[in-house]
Point group: C2
Chain length 213, copies 2
């Protein structure tokens, strides 16, 4: 069974922006990011749901597929936390709280290594290396399952540039951010290497699905 | 966690027909049914795939969701086999071969009970009783997971009439059969009780998704 590197449920604005220019400790995205994830938050399978209910239509399929056959995640350092440069505060264990939503080993890309952290059933490893080297570690840790490429934008673009991404699901929300880090100018940029389907959801997002030609 | 009764990947023709009038030992559907399932057979996740490849777009999500969080299946007798009336041939163990694609307990509705059959990791139980009684047995066997309502048409309609179905995914293929058992005259019939989304796939099928209001 081939192990895939999959981007899953990565949400961006209609202008391609997925992260703002003003990231801070208080604002992981640098803007009010709730609009980007509203499509998933409305579903019955949303893991942070505290009340019953929620939709069980198309968006619910994507939401519950997030963990399906995933054995590890790779993320950029800014998805773990806001600190830059050498880690000065080992007490602070990232943005994800005591019950991170990953439930697998997570490989955090950084030039500044630090000891691994286990929070509930998620273990964060801090690794330096090329995309191919980190992917090799993550595949080994995934024990035969696929690896999720968690983002952010810079990380996804690095792995796309290295031609290591097998499948990609990008949810394009009907909002504009204006300035910030863009995943793309246009999704057509990827069509030389990927098959590309666009599935409009009744919720207003458009699900863009890519897989290698 | 609520246990749901889910219809999954049930494929019908655009005129609502899902089973022909001429079912026989040689022809489980009573017509050439391959067109109904072509959408799923083209995907990378199709379990009977013998060669690499296959699409990884929208249809692949539905195909791989078939087993997701399913702990048991309920099916009508005609989905198990062609025999009618009392079981005269216990040697014949149904249409599904030595490796049935269910991988869970399966409850076969019949007025003629017979001993259970285990084939690989699927066990077929033959049960008489009302839809509610059979569902109760299946939920117990599912150990907290959901129950799939596998069909055929008559079985799905019985459980809809008893108001026991929680979610339903019907794939409507772009073919007409003409005569046979129909799931519906129009999907609108269900909108008094169910939310209803229609998602057209680039493959030509329309995925109809229903969940309780």
């Amino acid at each position: 069974m081939t192990q895939l590197l999959r981007v899953q449920n990565f949400s961006i604005a209609s202008d391609g922006v997925a992260a703002g220019v003003d990231q801070s400790f208080e604002s992981p995205f640098g803007f009010d990011h709730r609009d980007l994830f509203a499509w998933s938050g409305a579903t019955a399978s949303w893991p942070n749901r505290t009340e019953p209910g929620g939709t069980r239509g198309l968006d619910d399929y994507f939401t519950r597929d997030f963990t399906h056959n995933i054995g590890a995640e790779i993320m950029g350092r800014n998805k773990f936390g806001f600190q830059r440069g050498p880690w000065v505060d080992h007490e602070w264990q990232g943005w994800w709280g005591d019950e991170p939503p990953f439930h697998t080993p997570v490989f955090v890309l950084t030039h500044h290594e630090r000891p691994s952290i286990t929070l509930s059933d998620t273990t964060f490893h801090f690794v330096d290396g090329s995309p191919a080297e980190v992917l090799s570690k993550a595949k080994q840790a995934a024990l035969g399952k696929d690896v999720r490429l968690g983002g952010g934008v810079t990380t996804i673009r690095e792995f796309l540039d290295a031609d290591l991404v097998d499948t990609m699901h990008i949810a394009v929300a009907p909002v504009e951010i204006g300035s910030g880090l863009k995943l793309w100018e246009s999704p057509d940029e990827l069509e030389d290497r990927f098959e590309h389907e666009v599935v409009p959801s009744p919720s207003g997002v458009a699900h863009h699905l890519f897989w290698r030609k």
